[in-house]
Symmetry: C2
Subunit: 204 residues, 2 copies
């Protein structure tokens, strides 16, 4: 490991800041800092400014909680999307992942986390009440749970299920099973077991 002796406090500080990013150690941070040092000054200023503006100017969609540059997000604002289906996810990244599949045409609802007593996150800290409010407007017919299968994810899904069971909506969950390209040999028993129990008609 590199010690804290870079012959420059400026470099020291930049490395310190860069290594605060997730997955970036001090060694990588040093490489990034030295890379930036070799770039034209305008580029580096543009780099920094894009980050400051991201944090300062970004807004959240008042409907689903997705990021937007102001007002409704493009998904909620798109009249071609099926407004009768809403998919409940934990984070912005989950929305981006599902959008990338191109297989979903409904709307989203971002919780902003999952219930986790250990981390001090209760139902009140999440965007759950807003989901009930959305459903109470009577347009939504199906709520798709797309939360993780961890203890916290299951707890959160169950809590939401109880909250919305008073509404006449169908509650579904994304399918669990053996992933494409996965070896059966290396698939955990729970997944494989569920995958066999929920087998579907073979479609050649």
């Amino acid at each position: 490991m590199f010690r804290r002796n870079y012959s420059s406090e400026l470099l020291e500080e930049a490395v310190e800041q860069l290594s605060s990013l997730p997955g970036i150690g001090r060694r990588t941070a040093l490489r990034l800092a030295l890379h930036l040092l070799g770039q034209p000054r305008e580029n580096v200023e543009q780099f920094a400014s894009s980050i400051v503006r991201l944090r300062r100017d970004i807004r959240h969609c008042p409907v689903c909680g997705m990021i937007s540059d102001g007002g409704q997000c493009p998904v909620c604002g798109d009249s071609r999307r099926d407004a009768t289906v809403v998919c409940v996810v934990e984070s912005i990244r989950d929305v981006l992942s599902i959008e990338n599949t191109g297989q979903y045409n409904g709307l989203y609802h971002i919780l902003g986390g999952i219930i986790s007593p250990i981390d001090g996150v209760g139902p009140g800290d999440l965007n759950i009440q807003a989901l009930s409010d959305r459903i109470s407007q009577g347009v939504i017919e199906e709520v798709v749970m797309a939360l993780s299968t961890s203890m916290e994810g299951e707890t959160t899904a169950y809590y939401i299920y109880k909250q919305i069971s008073r509404f006449p909506v169908k509650v579904t969950a994304i399918a669990r099973g053996v992933g494409f390209g996965d070896d059966l040999e290396y698939t955990d028993e729970l997944t494989l077991g569920r995958s066999i129990a929920n087998r579907q008609i073979f479609q050649p």
Copy 2:
């Protein structure tokens, strides 16, 4: 891969900028951007400002080319260092690597690259003349070549050797051999061959 559809131009741009860093793909850039989005605004501004200041305010040591916050670098300015030995390296990173070993007490000379006709880098683009000037002052007694063993590194070392051979200095090179912890089985033939040829007295 994530497509370019993040529902926000600000996020789009930040991801674009972050993925311009070496070793950072778009997926990682997105993760970093969303991480920054979750941080307090002051922290993000401090992050960006440390990078801008790094690029804007950093200076180079007029003697060796190392980065400094102004004037001579701490190594050149340290009277306890042996000013009769100078180690020739390609980059700032190499200096940091050697400093971290704690095994070297001389000074450095950073070339700022290596001779590489393919990349259009000739001797005139490197900090070589300054090395001759330093040696001509008569204090330096030994020049240690610590360049890579690539074709370009060897060419550069040879060029420098020819340039400084008119001075009464000893020219040395860092030892090549099998690294600590390396298996002989996986060591390339050239390294292993050199390592046997240059065998040293066993010191238990």
